[in-house]
């Protein structure tokens, strides 16, 4: 339960947080803020992780909870960030890069979804089984299936217009 152990585990599995940030934010500044919020929340709730579930499931659950429900204050002033200069450099690079057609399609598809659907979608894209999705989201498996059908329909319309 030490900080060292936590930092080590999160460093190894940080991809989960980046993927959730990528799903919920379309600019680097928001990604950076959300990344920080998720890490802070992961650390706060780490004592409650008892290993009953996989560390990755626990990380997905915390990350999605923060992304969906922890409404972030609208910023009037930016605090100095200890984070990731990598985010800043990426921000510049990303601005300069033009989106590829496929990447644009992916972004368009994601933008069609609401916050709850995005949560289910990230778990689906990460090939999580339905029982894990319902456990994380707190809804029944039937409900997950209904949601997935709706999401698929929405995505098909975006991906194959006309």
């Amino acid at each position: 339960m030490s900080e060292q152990e936590f930092v080590q585990k999160v460093t190894e599995s940080q991809g989960i947080v980046h993927k959730v940030c990528g799903m919920y934010c379309d600019n680097e500044e928001d990604k950076k803020d959300l990344f920080q919020e998720i890490l802070i929340q992961l650390w706060k709730s780490y004592p409650s992780f008892r290993g009953d579930s996989k560390f990755s499931s626990w990380m997905y659950r915390v990350s999605l909870n923060v992304a969906i429900s922890n409404l972030r204050k609208s910023k009037t002033k930016k605090e100095d960030s200890t984070l990731p200069e990598s985010f800043d450099s990426i921000s510049k690079e990303s601005d300069e890069q033009s989106l590829s057609l496929e990447k644009g399609l992916l972004r368009d598809a994601i933008e069609q979804l609401n916050e709850i659907e995005k949560g289910i979608m990230v778990l689906y894209l990460e090939e999580k089984p339905n029982d894990e999705i319902d456990e994380i989201m707190g809804i029944t498996q039937n409900h997950v299936r209904v949601k997935m059908t709706r999401i698929r329909t929405k995505l098909k319309e975006t991906l194959n217009p006309g």
Binding site: S48, S69, R152
Partner: protein, 213 residues
């Protein structure tokens, strides 16, 4: 494009995203010591401030009565209130503020416990909505104990000037000022809370509806 292709594309993009944003152990260690900017953190900060301010004011009010300082206060306030009336007023204020402080303190503990727990998304949203509703109620009603009292105090000072309290028509005037202060405080507080948290609460309700459909 089919969904399976989308999955492949997501994987490719996610890999790029992860490798481009990768942070090291020291950066993660730095981030977890930072303060949260979430609405819940803001609610907690306000509660903490209220615990300290109302708690200290309550202690000062009750200490004033306990150590018999109301005599000298009554003198300095032009004797429009005698020492007993002042003691009653300070006692009511002290107890009211103390109650607000204790209430905020326990709510603060409850929110901290919630932050440490990891619940499914639906339950988390329900809890966050409850916390925000609680913060809105607390912001609306807790000030109703003090603000109208101040209005009434000013009214009392105006109507009785340097006279000692007498039970006559002026009591009604003071009560009317109190009622006016109560209504004014209620609507002002409610508006302020709605402006501050209303949108957040509506969003959460929308998410819950989405999870229940």
């Amino acid at each position: 494009m089919e969904l399976e292709e989308l999955k492949i594309l997501w994987k490719e993009e996610a890999e790029k995203e992860v490798s481009a944003h990768k942070v090291n152990v020291d950066e993660i260690r730095g981030v977890i010591t930072r303060k949260s900017q979430s609405t819940i953190a803001a609610v907690k900060k306000t509660m903490k401030m209220k615990v300290v301010v109302t708690g200290l004011t309550s202690i000062i009010c009750l200490a004033t009565v306990f150590f018999g300082l109301t005599d000298s206060l009554s003198e300095s306030l032009g004797k429009f209130m005698n020492a007993t009336q002042m003691a009653i007023m300070y006692s009511i204020l002290g107890v009211s503020l103390g109650t607000i402080s204790v209430f905020n303190f326990f709510n603060h503990i409850r929110i901290t416990d919630f932050e440490r727990s990891v619940l499914p998304t639906k339950e988390t949203i329900q809890h966050v909505a409850k916390i925000i509703k609680g913060a809105m109620s607390l912001g609306t009603y807790s000030d109703l104990i003090v603000s109208p009292f101040i209005f009434a105090f000013v009214g009392y000072a105006y109507f009785y000037r340097e006279e000692v309290f007498q039970f006559d028509i002026r009591v009604l005037y003071v009560l009317l000022v109190y009622a006016g202060g109560l209504a004014f405080s209620y609507f002002t507080n409610k508006y302020a809370m709605q402006k501050r948290f209303g949108n957040d609460l509506d969003r959460l309700k929308g998410y819950l509806k989405e999870l229940e459909l």
